[in-house]
């Protein structure tokens, strides 16, 4: 036993333990009400086939493709793993739905730049690019010959 620690064994008696298992009769907490008044509005978690809970959050309702996936997931009962996998997939879709538009800001000018660079007169005379351009036609001819 640790001699330095204050309070060693102070909660050893079971009567001093607050829970797990609880040792007193069931009773509502002070200031609790029953029945609970029903909250108005629409929950941000779209549950199907379940009774509405009296209290819920309305923050960030499902939107877009990820929202559709989430609505679909919530049609499944929570004991089915498919439901959770679909929710995880919806999370990834939401993330990429947010990140792709940001990437396009960089990717689009880059694509235009690369296209302009390839179309420049200097590149038309590049033997390497010329070979690269001929390659698909050459491959096609070889394939056609092989099929004959």
């Amino acid at each position: 036993m640790n001699p330095h620690d204050q309070g060693v064994g102070v909660d050893r008696p079971y009567a001093r333990r607050p829970g797990a298992p609880r040792f007193w009769e069931p009773e509502p907490w002070p200031d609790a009400r029953w029945p609970i008044p029903q909250q108005q509005g629409r929950p941000s978690v779209a549950m199907h086939g379940r009774e509405t809970k009296p209290v819920f959050s309305t923050a960030l309702p499902p939107r877009g493709v990820s929202g559709a996936m989430r609505r679909l997931a919530y049609r499944l009962p929570d004991h089915q793993p498919n439901r959770w996998l679909l929710l995880l997939a919806a999370d990834r879709v939401e993330v990429w739905g947010r990140r792709l538009p940001k990437l396009i800001v960089f990717a689009l000018p880059l694509a235009i730049g690369v296209g302009a660079w390839r179309a420049s007169p200097a590149l038309r005379w590049s033997p390497r690019w010329a070979a690269a351009r001929r390659a698909p036609r050459y491959m096609g001819r070889m394939a056609a010959r092989a099929l004959r």
Binding site: N2, R12, A32, P37, S57, D78, L88
Partner: protein
């Protein structure tokens, strides 16, 4: 709360700052609309201090299903009641309160039995647990406490007034990490003189060690792989420590316990556990299972036959690669669960007032809300000696 603009029809919109999820490994401080009373038993709490919990990192790493971008994080907070609904008896404007992370009605079958973490009236998403602040839409989608203001459903039932002599930071620990650790030690069924091994020397693990002493453990051993956390555990909880990297932990524990194993093992690590490459590959990197159960499996191996394994580290749906066969053959008792915080609060305030637990020590980082995104990474990567972070959304850093 700042009035920054008016809406399309001239309606005044109140804005506040909140730390929000912005996709895996990203958080962002956003301006958001102020919370409002949505139910007659609601209250609005002005946050005095909020903590980053180890389980917030599961959200940060994208491991909790239905975590929506823009949702406010944080389920550990203390504050002052600034508004109450018409039926919110039990709370008054101006009360300084600690808010349990569980949102519970206080009257249902579970609540009336003290199992507030299983309340059946606050989570419309599923039947796993009750609603939790800032912990994904799988836990109800409620906005979290790492913001200037929070909507607190059932404020008169849930929020616990903080005794005058208890500091905000001490009370902050009582909203989650301390009762979770305490409940773990309670579930370990300590009768006096037993050996208890705690896996994970993070905040919850540290409080579990402290609580194990309070319940009368004869020996408490901490297992972790982070040097500064092991050192902190030796100093804070006066426990023996084992570095997970130094050889076979199971053999070491057995050697220390006459070859039998520990009476009780507490897993305070959860689904980001290191220690098994396969578990990491499948769970953390591949996200094919709900994180890594490496710590849980080691706990099962380290417990003596007929012993107890307590899992308070968070594991999520849909499944985990747990070594259940060993647990069955060793006749282990497995205890687990989200902590029903409210029933522990009065007892823990007693311990704080008696000086048995100095919770403030674990808050090694005390920062403003704007420093929150950086603090998440510091905490996640275990840098700068970080044990736990307290954020002050309304600016008063102590």
């Amino acid at each position: 709360m700042v009035t920054v603009c008016s809406g399309r029809r001239g309606r005044q919109i109140e804005r506040m700052r909140a730390l929000t999820y912005d996709g895996p490994n990203r958080t962002k401080v956003r301006q958001k609309a102020e919370p409002r009373i949505e139910h007659p038993m609601d209250g609005i709490v002005k946050v005095r201090a909020a903590a980053i919990c180890g389980s917030d990192l599961h959200l940060l790493h994208g491991m909790v299903p239905d975590t929506r971008i823009g949702s406010t994080l944080g389920h550990e907070f203390v504050g002052e009641v600034v508004e109450v609904g018409p039926q919110a008896s039990g709370a008054r404007v101006g009360d300084r309160v600690a808010v349990p992370f569980n949102i519970f009605c206080g009257a249902c079958w579970y609540c009336s039995r003290g199992l507030t973490s299983s309340c059946e009236n606050t989570n419309p998403a599923n039947d796993l647990a009750c609603g939790i602040y800032g912990y994904s839409h799988s836990m109800g989608g409620y906005e979290g406490g790492q913001a200037q203001y929070v909507r607190v459903p059932f404020v008169g039932v849930d929020a616990e007034p903080i005794p005058d002599e208890v500091d905000d930071l001490d009370a902050l620990a009582v909203t989650d990490s301390m009762p979770t650790g305490y409940q773990a030690a309670e579930m370990a069924n300590i009768r006096g003189g037993e050996t208890v091994v705690v896996f994970g020397a993070g905040p919850v693990g540290l409080f579990a060690m402290k609580a194990a002493w309070l319940f009368g453990a004869g020996r408490v051993i901490a297992v972790d792989e982070v040097d500064y956390r092991l050192e902190f555990a030796r100093r804070f909880a006066e426990v023996e420590t084992i570095d997970f990297r130094d050889g076979d932990v199971v053999e070491t524990i057995r050697a220390e316990t006459n070859g039998r194993g520990a009476h009780a093992c507490i897993d305070a690590v959860g689904l980001e556990a290191a220690g098994s490459p396969v578990q990491r590959a499948l769970g953390i990197r591949g996200k094919m299972v709900a994180g890594s159960a490496a710590a849980l499996n080691t706990a099962i191996q380290c417990a003596r036959k007929g012993g107890t394994v307590v899992a308070i580290g968070v594991y999520g749906p849909p499944w985990t690669l747990m070594d259940f066969g060993t647990a069955m053959n060793k006749q282990l008792t497995i205890r687990t669960g989200q902590c029903s915080v409210k029933r522990y609060m009065p007892r823990l305030f007693e311990h704080i007032r008696a000086g048995r637990i100095d919770a403030q020590q674990v808050f090694t980082h005390r920062l403003s809300l704007e420093e929150g995104p950086g603090a998440y990474h510091t905490f996640a990567k275990k840098r700068q000696g970080c044990i736990k972070v307290a954020l002050y959304p309304n600016g008063a850093i102590h």
